[in-house]
């Protein structure tokens, strides 16, 4: 039995996914990238092997993606996260038309064609406001975890209005709102709305092709997903572990390359 590996080295976290010749995922892991991409890739891969219960030698082909993809000596090939998210999302939700990936450092909207091919894509401007970083900054201001941001916002009775498109400006808005004792959930809902609007602009730029899948860390924030669904007017697919979609895509690429004998 041959196994194939995908490693996604992001700015904040690194994921590894192992698949075999059949369907399904054999094992995966998520670790913090920290200061060294190569070490993070090794660590993630090692943990994924453990989860899959196999030895390193059983993996015949590895593909790396993410910012740190050039720092993965283990890898036989590198592929961009755009292509990987498209392939991974298509595999999980076979009729996916668009993928929205809001990661820690950047966001992407990808139009996916048959067999997971990228037809078009756009990435966020040189600016943090449409990314997970925006929410992280605010989360620490409000002393909540990123996971809690989703749940809390769903209980908000009202919504604070965050007007800025800039993370720094928005931060000072949040400070003012906190000073006025606006309830946390309402501020969070406003922040979720701000990031949703930002990303929605990118979705419109690519064009809305349903069904839509969301991936990346921010997809764990049910508040953002709900607001995005409102914009779209249709439900959005989110995998149980949205952070590994990129690595899964890389593993699928690895399998494909291996079969094509390259």
């Amino acid at each position: 039995m041959n196994y194939f590996g995908g490693i996604d080295v992001g700015a904040i976290s690194t994921e590894a996914v192992i698949i075999d010749e059949g369907d399904g995922i054999s094992g995966y892991s998520i670790v913090e990238t920290g200061a060294n991409s190569t070490d993070a890739a090794d660590e993630a891969f090692g943990k994924a092997l453990l989860a899959a219960g196999i030895h390193r030698d059983a993996v015949t082909y590895i593909a790396a993606t993410g910012y740190g993809r050039v720092s993965v000596p283990l890898a036989n090939k590198t592929v961009t996260e755009i292509s990987c998210h498209a392939l991974g999302a298509k595999y999980l939700f076979p009729n996916t038309g668009t993928v929205i990936d809001i990661g820690g450092q950047d966001s992407k909207v990808i139009r996916v064609g048959d067999s997971g091919k990228v037809l078009d894509f756009t990435m966020n401007d040189k600016c943090a406001a449409g990314t997970g970083r925006f929410l992280e900054v605010m989360a620490s201001k409000l002393r909540v975890s990123l996971e809690e941001m989703g749940e809390l916002s769903l209980h908000a009775k009202a919504e604070a209005h965050i007007s800025s498109v800039c993370t720094v400006f928005a931060e000072s808005e949040v400070v003012s709102l906190v000073a006025k004792n606006q309830p946390k959930e309402e501020i969070i809902k406003g922040l979720n709305r701000a990031i949703t609007n930002r990303v929605w602009g990118m979705v419109k730029a690519v064009g809305v092709y349903v069904p839509v899948t969301m991936s990346g860390g921010v997809a764990k924030n049910r508040g953002v997903v709900t607001l995005m669904e409102e914009k779209l007017g249709k439900p959005i697919r989110v995998y149980a572990e949205p952070q590994i979609v990129g690595a899964l895509g890389a593993a699928l690429f690895a399998r494909k390359q291996s079969r094509e004998g390259m």
Partner: protein, 426 residues
């Protein structure tokens, strides 16, 4: 068929009036009677826009364009910049800009343009319905951006675009520059006749130039009343009363309005009635207004006894239109339109501002660095430095935008203003 006419007008005339009873700011003097006259005037103008399409040839015009040449042909003129300001004041800027952004227009582009394009894509507007143009009429004397914007509109609507190309006044406007502009005006006439299906009547054109000139001079007199201590009007009122000279220039209604306004202001001056109750400090404003902060700023400054008594923006529509001359209409129009502040070099701007500061006895200068408006904003940092050095008055720069409130940070602006107040009062 739902007739939006009357409810539209009512909604329009409620603009500026409070929806919920809002406490009138105690620092402000009595509101101008002419404010309601203005609302009616503009409401009527926008109401006519609903019926213009099909009944009259419609032209969309830039604020600095030589509209006098259009009037003899009976065009109904619509000013997207004016509409943009309205949307900004109604706090619809971000919503409309977002519509344009979703269609690929970058958020760094001029927000008047984004609002207008946003309207094109969504049909949203606070004024009922805008008439589709038969002609786009632009001059690049205020900026090149209007031409990029109007070019896009020309492509969407597949209609002609006439450009009045004004050479920039780097040192001085030459005879060749004037001839170029005069010839352009002459060259436009056949196309205007074709679109409007009317012959050009030179006599009528000269009359209109005369009316425009008088309206502009009267507007100048209106602004001059603000030299009085206390000033009878705030610049925020002046920004609103700018609408007729910008968008109804050449029509008798604009001239009548300013005559009425002038009369009211002269009466106030005679009676010593001030726009704010306690005028301790007199300020100047540079650049276009921050349309969505007009009321807030009016209150903020009034509460501190500060009144804006002059501005380069309001001054722009009286500064050069005085060059108009019915006996030499084409040549005088070339001069009047090419010498507007934004088409003129920065040395001229510095001297103009110094003159206004002196004439209006200004104690402090507030510079709005408007993200959307490069010709106005590029050079402001040096202007600030030079004016502070030469005239030794406190000056502050606020980074904001004319209609896109997402580019404005209240917290940042307040920090700067607080420091400015301390310097002024200290």
């Amino acid at each position: 068929m739902k007739d939006m006419g009357v409810p539209g007008i009512m909604r329009f005339s409620r603009m500026g009036k409070k929806r919920r009873p809002r406490k009138k700011n105690a620092s402000l003097g009595p509101p101008l009677e002419c404010n309601s006259r203005l609302r009616e005037l503009m409401a009527t103008h926008y109401l006519l826009s609903r019926y213009a399409q099909g009944a009259k040839p419609v032209a969309w015009v830039t604020s600095g364009a030589p509209v006098e040449i259009l009037r003899p042909f009976g065009f109904y003129t619509f000013y997207p910049e004016n509409h943009g300001a309205l949307c900004g004041a109604q706090k619809m800027g971000p919503e409309l800009c977002a519509e344009a952004e979703e269609h690929g227009y970058h958020q760094d582009l001029c927000s008047y343009a984004r609002i207008d394009l946003g309207h094109y894509f969504s049909g949203k507007t606070p004024v009922g319905r805008l008439p589709k143009p038969d002609l786009l009429f632009a001059s690049n004397n205020i900026c090149q951006t209007v031409v990029y914007w109007y070019k896009a509109l020309a492509e969407y609507w597949k209609i002609p675009l006439i450009l009045f190309d004004t050479p920039y006044n780097f040192r001085e406007i030459s005879k060749a520059d004037i001839s170029y502009m005069v010839r352009q005006l002459e060259e436009m006439i056949p196309l205007l006749e074709q679109i409007s299906k009317r012959r050009f009547r030179y006599k009528r054109f000269r009359e209109i130039v005369g009316i425009a000139k008088e309206a502009s001079l009267t507007w100048g007199e209106v602004l001059s009343t603000m030299k009085a201590r206390p000033s009878p009007m705030t610049i925020f009122d002046a920004f609103t009363h700018l609408a007729p000279i910008v968008s109804l220039r050449g029509l008798p209604a604009a001239l009548e309005h300013y005559r009425a306004l002038l009369a009211e202001l002269e009466k106030r001056v005679a009676q010593g009635v001030g726009a704010i109750k306690n005028e301790r400090w007199r300020l100047m404003w540079d650049n276009i207004a921050i349309w969505y902060k007009m009321r807030d700023f009016a209150n903020l400054f009034a509460e501190r006894g500060m009144n804006f008594v002059t501005a380069t923006y309001t001054n722009a529509w009286t500064e050069t239109i005085g060059y108009l001359d019915e006996t030499k209409p084409f040549e005088s129009m070339a001069k009047a339109y090419s010498l507007v502040i934004l088409n003129n070099n920065l040395d001229h701007r510095l001297q103009l501002m110094e003159r206004l500061i002196q004439e209006f006895q200004v104690d402090g200068l507030v510079i709005h660095s408007a993200r959307s408006c490069k010709p106005y904003s590029v050079g402001q940092y040096d202007l600030k430095r030079l004016i502070t050095e030469r005239l030794e008055i406190p000056t502050v720069v606020i980074e904001a935008d004319i209609t896109d409130s997402r580019a404005y940070s209240e917290e940042q602006a307040m920090v700067r203003l607080e420091a400015f107040f301390e310097t002024l009062e200290g």
